[in-house]
Point group: C3
Chain length 429, copies 3
């Protein structure tokens, strides 16, 4: 799924104009792998640099690197992308290296990293390393800590990953537009001591939201509250991978929020604790059990628990409109228009007219409504007992009793790293 | 207030079609008590099963049960209801057993419960036991863990209440519509050890929100953010019971949020700690003092404190629009229309025209405006010093110095359970 | 900047009608200082009463008092004010003593305070001392604990400041309007023991939001969610003072939220802990590190950290629309109108038309658009590396290596109190 592309030719000039030539040799720019798929990629074991237990990025992938002496070099390319939100709908977003969100950057506490950022957008950008303690000049705030990266230019960030934890990267230039277009990614800094904060399964994803008019492809970037597409890593149910674990596994799920509102993430069948934020790890004395964790904008929450209850459990944002796809609230639907217009008129004539007493919306999951092109049904997804009737920020957390099989036909069914036979992503490129 | 109704005749057929006949004998379906009042019901002491100290459900009641061997049997009926939101306004909602929210289900840690759910709605439903650790097949997620319950059918849930705490129940089928219509209730699992987490007064209610156009009765179900009726247990001030305690009482107030936004609940005159969530109890080392607790959607928070300051204290959501009734923000009012239209015009002519410098809205509490039918005034409620001028999510917390009297004319003035002479609800049915 | 005004003549009559004459002699009403500037005022060291280390109120000031025996007397005047939101825009608000927010009230744990409140608004008001434990009759809830203060009247509140901490004051009468107009202020109660909770730098401000149509001056008071001006202490970037500290300083920033939504406040370059709320101090066992703290409405959060990373760091609300000025989301802009209208039409003809792929909004910071009168640019602010392109709830946190100079040309560059040569505010009046 990963393809290799070289920036040696087409970025050499850019590097000069970007003024980074003094800090790095043009010929040393690493390749920028490109991901063509929105499927969850099996986590690759590191073959260079220090060892770590990789995370599973939900409907995402981790960015390969190359070692240049003791420095880990990554190459992010900010660019327009086509992201499949779920089968049947593709969004025209801005992202990194072919997808939105961008690839997960994984490294180890103490690593020195050098991250090349090439701007293939039609406007300026920067990258801010949210939560990472970096020197001021590396903080990526346009105007304040650096000039913006112009279209065509490549900028180099270089710093030490001082602390283990979960962080984010995103632009700090024209933020309203660039967030609304999907520019964001996750940074995982693994502890140097492999036994520290060790879990059996480790998932990560970001919360994002879009306002894409049914029938169109590109988000409206000026929307403040009335988004109609609520997503995990720019994917909507039923397009989101399940998270699959074995009974008894200690599980961590890391979730960052880069939307415009809080998202209360609810797990069925289990209680959990918040064990980490984008500020660091939560001491044990400060933890308490939750069934639903409300994640504020710009926050990252790592939750942990023992997956002791076998079965397929719902995992979703508890705001009902956020677990639906478009046409649920603001955009009129064929049934909704009739419904509301008729109801208003009827209520004036017969105030006690009970609209909802007549129908409801569940039948919509059964109907075959004619949808606009490139539009997901409001409620979708089939389970073992019929229609699940959800959308948006919803997926399943599957606790299986048996040892997982060796094939990876189930996209969320990954071997634990110790016994991993997963091919490395960069070996495919 | 509780009336008895039998489902032996009209549900026997339904039970067959629901396919639950193999798990329970049709003749064993317990009666489904029906509540006709929106007043707070005195908490009944349990006369069967293990002892516990009941909670006071604000403007609600607890569901009677029957013991069938060692199993506690409850019967919920999902159905359209008429809920008095406050004197002068009734909403046509969906709820359980005659009211919205449904009755509180109270039991004891370790209890095995069997809960019959009869669907008298015009569409499918299910019941999810939010926060309760149940076997996967009992989790109530339509399509994923069970087929939906069809109109007319009765479904049986059976599981152990493994952990003491505060939980919720609500549908997990057509959730957007069914939440917007008021389908929800509270579950209290009392500790087996009566001394554990013991308090003198224990209140519980849910936060809910509706969009009911002034002059009509039924919520608009497609609203995502612009609700106009913000309620505690589907009641708006001045229709909400006060909470009355004695000075020195240790008080617990348990609040769950099933709206579409956060509600910061503020108590005057006291600081408090969060001692429990829908995930479990908060260890003492993890607690801290608050004056306002922000409750995310799908979260439950139990707060505790000593009521040491005598007097009548405000207790409310701190979002100002949520402590008002309809017509406050989006729906034009007779004064509002003039006000805004004139203001816009005047501002164009005279930019420095200071609209609010002329009046404000406090005078509206004094005016006798002609309101549409079935509509509450935006600001209402009389206190000892005149108009309180509030609405929505607002009530009072009354700390009294004297021993409470034996009569219950004040709906919130309940004897503590030890000396209770309150009649049991099920003896009335 | 502070001017003296006497209420002896013009309030004596009011005092009689307010019925407070029995509790205080008319001639004893203290002067009500008036602030004419929106600049951050250097913190004055107390010269009467017990010693404390004053806070810096961001773009604000602390209210001088006078000692009357052992009682600290303050005088707040609720009145229409003109507040400069940033150079180029002034809002017509309601506030206290010439500004919105009102002045910070500072005292010491155990102080007895007497606060005179004169109502020069066109409608009733009260003052509620949010988070402070006061006798019920002093709680300031109109109708419930006192009659409202009529226009022209003066009311006297008197109580003991029992606990150190950070609290707020605001009306509890016609709250929706009076919050929307900017009526609020901060209360700091310093510990009696100077070494308790001691920090090197201590900043405080409130979060507020307005809906002021571009070209006008007065907020629309009925807005529930669609505010267009998001501010720190009624100031928008680039009008907000920076916070300047020395490397190694222990810093506290206290932030209260009196808007209608959560604000996730994010600090670059540092992690921090919440050490206090409006309910009290957070025990050490209950603290954990954060990069972003989500502050609910009606909540106060004090955060603390060591400023160990030199440089200029961004400090802002992480909701992207809240770090922009008006015209960003709902109000059409000259570029936005064309953009959206054209985009909708083009998408119908050419569904894959990629609007944002063509431009973006960053170029707007470079353009010299013609703005309506009294309107801030959507994205503004110049840094050492060019346009910062932010607005609203954004400022900088500057960590300097050198000892600060003695001049105060930089408004945030204050001497620590120990070596302060700052003139006292009341000596200017």
């Amino acid at each position: 799924m990963v393809s290799r592309r070289s920036f040696l030719s087409n970025t050499a000039g850019a590097l000069v104009t970007a003024g980074v030539i003094s800090r790095v040799n043009a010929q040393s720019v690493p390749e920028a792998p490109l991901m063509g798929s929105a499927a969850t990629q099996p986590p690759p074991m590191p073959t260079t640099g220090r060892p770590f237990k990789p995370v599973v990025t939900l409907n995402g992938w981790s960015l390969p690197w190359r070692m240049q002496g003791d420095v880990k070099e990554f190459h992010l390319v900010a660019e327009p992308v086509e992201r499949e939100v779920a089968p049947g709908m593709t969004a025209h977003l801005w992202g990194y290296n072919g997808q939105s969100p961008g690839p997960t950057i994984e490294c180890v506490e103490g690593d020195r990293v050098r991250i090349f950022v090439t701007n293939k957008l039609p406007e300026i950008t920067t990258v801010h390393w949210h939560g990472v303690h970096v020197p001021n000049g590396m903080d990526g705030v346009a105007g304040l800590t650096q000039p913006p990266i112009k279209p065509g230019d490549t900028w180099v960030y270089e710093f030490d990953m001082q602390r283990a934890g979960t962080f984010m990267y995103h632009p700090h230039a024209d933020g309203m537009v660039q967030f609304a277009m999907g520019m964001m990614g996750t940074i995982i800094v693994h502890p140097e001591d492999l036994a520290m904060h060790e879990v059996d399964r480790d998932f990560v994803f970001l919360l994002n939201a879009y306002d894409i008019e049914p029938g169109s492809y590109t988000p409206r970037v000026s929307t403040m509250t009335d988004f109609n597409l609520w997503t995990f890593n720019s994917r909507a149910f039923p397009g989101i991978s399940p998270m699959v674990v074995r009974q008894g596994d200690r599980v961590r799920i890391r979730v960052g929020n880069l939307t415009m509102t809080n998202h209360p993430i609810h797990l069925h069948g289990h209680s959990f604790e918040v064990t980490g934020t984008d500020g660091g790890w939560v001491p044990e004395t400060a933890r308490w059990p939750e069934a639903t964790i409300d994640i504020g904008v710009g926050q990252m929450r790592a939750i942990e628990f023992i997956a002791d209850a076998p079965g397929d459990w719902a995992f979703h944002c508890h705001k009902t409109h956020h677990a639906m796809n478009a046409m649920a609230h603001d955009v009129p639907t064929s049934i909704g228009v009739d419904f509301e217009e008729a109801a208003v008129k009827l209520r004036r004539l017969i105030p006690e007219y009970m609209v909802m007493g007549d129908r409801g919306m569940a039948e919509m999951t059964e109907m075959k409504m004619e949808l606009p092109e490139n539009t997901l049904p409001m409620m979708a997804g089939d389970g073992p007992h019929g229609s699940i009737g959800m959308g948006g920020m919803f997926t399943t957390f599957k606790v299986r009793v048996e040892q997982p099989p060796d094939d990876y036909s189930d996209p969320g069914w990954y071997e634990p790293p110790a016994g991993s036979t997963a091919h490395r992503q960069d070996s495919e490129s």
